[in-house]
Symmetry: C2
């Protein structure tokens, strides 16, 4: 077991986390803290870190240094970005931090910052080609990614804190100030020659874009309280910008979703994002809460060469397995057999259900996770399964796919129209998707029944189809016949409802 | 690790469960099934189990016999109650079951049935003196408990299934039928000479009383979806009875909370309970979902002499520890130290907070459980902690205490007025109780901060009080000072809000 501490001294806030990596390749977050210290504030034209800001940083780093000792951390990554990078008293600051806290900060350049942010995204969001930006307190990094590799990247001094100061936006704002800020930003963005003209997904990281997403979720009453991989259509962002523009700085903290300690700098940050969007043809903006810090973690994690132990080349499946292992703490479970049976039934029934490969992936996730609710309580374990999946830290799926999987898994004992209709997530699902949930949870249900007889092997499951019937032949041990009959009897009609064909279950004796 | 299967062949339904007991004394339910087979139906005056009923029972027992093999069960308890006990073809039935399913049913008498039901209650509800009844399909057992022992018990042939048949209540009901049923019941109850005249809590088990409680919860919009230990004032039950009386048998299944397969026999059962209540001075009726089956389990469990390993003589604390161990799967955690610190602060501050010993018990539970939400996700772990506590299978507390503990534990990083006010449970809490939650979560919060420094020992924590101040002296390692200061600074004002006194935190160096 290894513990990794990551300190990210940004220009607006300082962030700290400790992750634990086990010998079996599983990992989890075990500690996290954040303090808004505004290191870049008051630097002025001479770019000098102020004594007040330095003191705040040092005091906070002392605490993190304490925690590093208390948690017996094995490896520390402590980095500083734009504010320190650009500071004329950088050397003094770094020495003072080292002396007073014992922490040796590593000041990274813009390219490195862009790369680490990219690493945080590429390991947690399942996209191969996109443009991304990391908007921080004193800089923005913009990177173009093709085929999961950075093609181009740039760091510009357009941060939420330094622009707020430079254009004096903290208290009174005027359209004149805003116009000159916009011009300033446009000029910088124009200098990026490789900015794509064509439509390309845009991914944003950093506090400003997180706040925009939170405000947007509140505006549209989004039922899923999760920011990572939240995707909004570019067209709908303008309303969110308007809300920010229209409020005076002091009143801004009342905007639902906006935290008080960001209310004074959100405007400058929002304008940067707006100008960037205006110069692109991106139709969507996706938020990643995984950025630089997670990038550092994943780079280190992958340097440990765990990939040999991976069960799958799918980010989602690896993440699901990692999560389940962390939750269950042991490997004694029958999910693998259920998963095999479920996928086999999916494949053999594919001409009947006509679902996509993505549906197959969700069925796989649901079958791995279907019984995790037992951990909370045997009673209502289906409800707990849904709760856990909806709140799990699993990467690589869209919000919709996560919600669908929660339903599929929790309906492993039968679909419930009442539960899905009363759920707040129903607004995110259309009828086709509800039908998909019905079909996949039915397949999972049958798979679980077959799996009750621990010795049923996928190779003894066969399907044939006639005009009116689908016949499922199962080779079983005679003594298990009762279980199959007992549990399947009551669900056969459901198949008929779904596909207007009768499902017949026949068994043959494998002991013969 | 041992696995115990329990089969309970009742007169209305057959129930099956498998529990697992680990060497460290922890246990949990791992499988459960139930089928309404109506064994007592159609027995007639000659008390003959019908072929149809026998077939249903045998088919179901075959399935359970399968599961017993599949789950590698070590010990089987298979019992049959009133229907078989009274059947004239009992011997034939038992032999047929043995031959066709391999299960040897043990027919228990009324005394034993009463005792096992009592065992299920006494190990899961924290009461010492009460009257209890177990109303099944073909009999009711009534027992008087003083000082956790049965003083008297009786079994009467007043069951929901046999009375429905005897008085022909399945389809049409008339006031004449009802009156003669009431008379019949009254005569039987009158024969119990030891029925207490004085006020005594009443506890009920069995399907009928569970259904009554469910209907009652729906009627009053009870926000907590839990039946075990649900207590209703006797005065409010009459409304629930009226709902049942006023509906024709066929329409009864539409009553919210009543399951379809009980709608035809609920009336007879409800009348038995009503008549029993009328002959008592009990002001409350408490529902136990733990009865005969759990009684069998607990009797066996305690025969294993685990009590030597118990951490506490409190049913609640043992249950909390059992639950936490099952959830966390390892003993490496710092909760013990937090619990010690929290209880110490509670005791030293008792003249200031003036809370009861029960509050102390809840603080103890909350401190043991406060971080279980981490299991689901580090993010929003407070929310997950509350969810898990509200859904945990923990015995020995009232609904209110369970809800309070969920709030106390989840506010271990700070009380949130918004969360508690928006919670559906707020209707169950008065202002005094909310204040109790505030105080206890504050104590837990400070305890957690102190526990950040792993080497803080309860013996180095001292409190002194002046007219205006409360001073907390903590002996710590100098290097940990930063953490204490960093985290306590922002919460000191809260103490002042609670007690109109300033809290000062001072530390002295234990290394000196």
């Amino acid at each position: 077991m290894k513990r990794i501490a990551i300190i990210d001294l940004g220009s607006n806030s300082i962030r700290f986390l400790i992750k634990e990596i086990n010998a079996d390749s599983t990992f989890k977050l075990i500690f996290k803290d954040k303090k808004s210290i505004r290191l870049a504030e008051g630097m002025g034209k001479k770019l000098i870190l102020t004594e007040a800001a330095i003191k705040k940083a040092v005091n906070c780093l002392k605490v993190y240094s304490n925690f590093i000792g208390i948690y017996n951390v094995d490896k520390i990554f402590a980095i500083a970005t734009a504010a320190v990078r650009n500071a004329s008293n950088k050397k003094y600051f770094l020495e003072r931090v080292k002396k007073e806290t014992g922490i040796k900060l590593n000041v990274i350049d813009g390219k490195k910052e862009a790369y680490l942010g990219f690493s945080g995204v590429i390991h947690t969001i399942n996209k191969t080609d996109f443009l991304m930006f990391d908007l921080g307190g004193a800089s923005i990094e913009i990177s173009l990614i093709k085929n999961k590799k950075i093609i181009n990247s740039i760091s510009l001094p357009l941060g939420a804190v330094n622009l707020t100061e430079k254009f004096n936006l903290k208290k009174e704002i005027s359209s004149k100030k805003i116009e000159s800020l916009k011009k300033y930003i446009q000029n910088q963005i124009k200098s990026i020659k490789w900015l794509p003209k064509e439509e390309i997904p845009l991914i944003g990281i950093g506090g400003t874009v997180r706040s925009l997403a939170k405000i947007h979720q509140r505006q549209i009453n989004y039922p899923f309280k999760k920011l990572h991989n939240y995707t909004l259509p570019s067209s709908s962002i303008s309303k969110t910008f308007e809300i920010i523009y229209s409020q005076a700085s002091q009143k801004r903290k009342n905007i639902p979703g906006l935290s008080e300690d960001r209310s004074d700098i959100i405007l400058a940050g929002a304008i940067v994002i707006n100008e960037l969007l205006n110069s692109l043809s991106s139709k969507t903006l996706t938020i990643s809460i995984s950025g630089l810090r997670e990038g550092i973690f994943f780079n280190y994690y992958h340097s440990l060469n765990f990939h040999k132990k991976y069960n799958s080349d799918s980010m989602l499946i690896n993440s699901v397995l990692n999560y389940k292992k962390m939750l269950i703490d042991n490997n004694v479970n029958s999910s693998n057999n259920i998963t095999e049976i479920a996928l086999l039934l999916f494949d053999k029934l594919k001409d009947i259900h006509k679902l996509t490969q993505n549906a197959r992936l969700l069925l796989r996730c649901a079958s791995i996770l279907h019984n995790i609710g037992l951990k909370v309580n045997y009673f209502e374990s289906e409800k707990h399964t849904a709760y856990i999946i909806l709140n799990a830290s699993i990467f690589g799926w869209s919000h919709k796919d996560q919600i669908k999987t929660a339903f599929i898994a929790s309906f492993h004992n039968g679909f419930s129209n009442k539960i899905i209709k009363n759920s707040s997530y129903i607004t995110l699902l259309n009828n086709k998707e509800i039908r998909e949930i019905k079909i996949l949870s039915f397949i999972l249900h049958i798979s679980e029944i077959l799996n009750f007889c621990k010795n049923i092997s996928p190779k003894n499951i066969h399907i044939s189809e006639t005009e009116k019937n689908v016949i499922l032949y199962i080779g079983i041990n005679t003594k298990d016949i009762h279980i199959i009959d007992y549990y399947t009897q009551s669900i056969l009609h459901y198949f008929c409802k779904l596909f207007s064909k009768k499902l017949l279950i026949k068994h043959y004796n494998i002991n013969k």
